[in-house]
């Protein structure tokens, strides 16, 4: 930690006298760059290994000593995975579930955040606390009742069961984040609209909604990722491959060939890449906004 703290102060002093940097000073920064390299490798290596394994043919994959770089790269694992009916189905199911959950959360969340972010009323603090406490609600705590409820509703082994139960993970936090976006908008906007004779509905629809659109994108993405990554409910409430989501499908890959007792790791790694890439792309495109959304609470304390 000292090294990093020192580096912090040093970086600031270096920035001021950038004219001539003696070699000694540059050498002094070497440990710092080594640390950065170490962090980089630590973060990236598991991904590299997944990609490397997904491109390595089975003959090389299950052989020692290991090849750290695929000598004869192949797309055969990707072809196997993407042509698998179960996996296609799982991708579709996950898209349906995560999409519906996101949409429902955003609609209910935006309306609720309008009330919480723009109105002062009796019980507002109570509603805010309720939503906040729900955001840290452990989903396992209600498994017993959800399991029987879902059966009673005839939802067992359907995507509806997952859409219903995933809402607990996304809705409270959507309300909470959108409320902070709503509350941050300047007051004069609405006042001007009210003076012009607009109704609360028009203010919401024509003034506020367009302004929090970026917030909706961020929050929507966070909700989508949460639902896409959900495993416990998907594992408990669905049974056959036709209703599996990707997280369940990817953990139940079995070797179709029956020749080896090893799991088909090449295919599994190809599947992890396929499942992960869309999330990574979206995250990188929207990284600034996600960072703002994720860390808003922490900075304000």
């Amino acid at each position: 930690m000292t090294a990093a703290a020192e580096a912090t102060t040093e970086a600031r002093s270096v920035a001021k006298v950038r004219v001539h940097k003696p070699l000694r000073k540059r050498l002094a920064r070497l440990p710092f760059y080594l640390l950065i390299a170490a962090i980089f490798v630590y973060t990236i290596f598991p991904f590299y290994w997944a990609i490397r394994s997904s491109l390595t043919p089975d003959g090389d994959l299950f052989a020692t000593p290991l090849q750290y770089f695929p000598n004869s790269p192949t797309l055969v694992h990707y072809r196997e995975v993407l042509s698998s009916g179960d996996f296609q189905r799982a991708l579709l199911n996950s898209t349906i579930v995560a999409g519906s959950v996101t949409l429902i959360s955003l609609v209910l969340g935006t309306v609720a955040s309008y009330a919480l972010g723009r109105f002062r009323f009796r019980g507002r603090a109570f509603a805010m606390y309720l939503m906040l406490s729900m955001t840290i609600f452990p989903q396992i705590a209600i498994l017993g009742a959800l399991y029987t409820m879902i059966n009673k509703f005839g939802l067992f082994n359907t995507l509806g069961a997952l859409i219903f139960s995933d809402l607990i993970l996304t809705l409270p936090f959507t309300v909470w984040v959108l409320t902070s976006f709503m509350a941050a908008l300047p007051k004069d906007l609405e006042e001007a609209a009210y003076v012009d004779g607009a109704s609360p509905f028009q203010v919401f629809y024509k003034v506020l909604l367009p302004l929090i659109a970026p917030g909706l994108v961020t929050t929507g993405l966070l909700a989508f990722i949460t639902a896409w990554n959900e495993y416990l409910y998907a594992l408990s409430f669905t049974q056959d491959p036709e209703h599996h989501t990707v997280t369940v499908a990817i953990t139940s890959f079995t070797s179709g060939k029956g020749l080896t007792f090893e799991q088909p790791w090449g295919q599994i790694m190809a599947a992890t890449v396929v499942v992960t890439v869309p999330l990574i792309v979206l995250t990188l495109i929207l990284q600034r906004r996600i960072l703002a959304g994720l860390t808003a609470g922490a900075v304000k304390g």
Binding site: I36, A141, M269
Partner: protein, 311 residues
């Protein structure tokens, strides 16, 4: 919770009666807007929570049509206390929580300080740190499970080549390495998130403070303990709370690594297996409530600690 005097949209100077009518109208409208979200939360969270608590006092079975359900009082909880499988699960989960939260905090702090110190490519680094956070836990667990593979895993291969281990180790199958293996996977996945939270906290500390401290001759070490740490406290607490509550309900990593193997059950796996695997909804619900209480206990400890710190 008295009604505040400033209604967000009401013009400022109006007769009193008028304002209170407006206030009432606003309150009604606000609750109307809140209603759908509240109903949804009630339906997916509060009702099931109440129902789970009720089940925990009964012998409810999943196939309840066959046998009638009885109220059995605290019977489930008495059994739970004497259930060594559950006790092991609690111990394992708490151990896992302490290990992962400690490492995630330490590593996260080092990474946050490094990235905050500014260098070329810092933006790239920060973007990259979001990636492990975004991928499904199940996926990161699978990636690690393959790296741990006892014959073809890269961890064994690299370890032997670098002479860190003398022979291949079955990291996941061996009871004495299982917990560490799962913890390492979790630490890799969530450390960047902790680092990002801390980094956000670091970036709002004004640089003038450090400059003033330097003028006064404070060393980097002193600056860290006297400026960085106190001002970072809110971010640190938020990160610790989030991570602790998350770690206590861990399910995915352990399930992917070990299935429902008895010696590596976490609290959540125990409950899930009892409810879904065995169909013993009453007993499993008692376990759910126990988990809820344990997590609640940790939350109370944190909040109390925070209050004490503030005074």
């Amino acid at each position: 919770m008295s009604p505040t005097t400033e209604a967000s949209s009401a013009p400022r100077s109006r007769p009193r009666r008028r304002r209170s009518r407006l206030q009432r109208k606003q309150t009604r409208l606000a609750w109307l807007l809140l209603l759908p979200a509240l109903v949804a939360v009630g339906l997916v969270a509060l009702y099931p929570l109440g129902r789970t608590i009720y089940y925990s006092f009964t012998d409810q079975q999943f196939l309840s049509g066959i046998e009638a359900t009885h109220w059995i009082g605290l019977e489930n909880y008495k059994d739970l206390i004497h259930d060594t499988l559950f006790r092991d699960a609690v111990v394992l989960t708490v151990k896992f929580t302490l290990i992962t939260v400690a490492f995630e905090f330490l590593l996260g702090m080092i990474i946050a300080l490094t990235v905050n110190s500014g260098f070329k490519g810092r933006g790239v680094m920060r973007a990259m740190m979001l990636v492990p956070w975004a991928i499904p836990t199940v996926v990161s667990a699978l990636m690690w499970k393959w790296m741990y593979n006892d014959i073809y895993g890269v961890i064994n291969d690299a370890g032997v080549r670098l002479h860190l281990i003398s022979h291949n180790v079955a990291w996941i199958a061996q009871p004495n390495t299982a917990l560490g293996a799962a913890a390492a996977s979790d630490i890799w996945k969530t450390t960047p998130f902790v680092a990002l939270l801390l980094l956000a906290g670091l970036q709002v500390i004004p640089t003038e403070l450090y400059e003033a401290a330097r003028v006064d001759g404070a060393s980097a070490w002193q600056q860290f303990w006297r400026i960085t740490m106190p001002l970072l406290r809110p971010a640190i607490l938020v990160a610790l709370i989030f991570r602790t509550l998350d770690a206590l309900r861990v399910f995915d990593v352990f399930y992917v690594f070990f299935g429902n193997r008895p010696d590596t059950q976490t609290m959540a796996i125990f409950a899930q297996d009892t409810i879904v695997g065995t169909g013993d909804v009453g007993y499993g619900s008692a376990a759910c409530v126990a988990i809820f209480l344990i997590i609640g206990l940790f939350t109370v400890i944190y909040v109390t600690f925070m209050r004490v710190e503030q005074q």
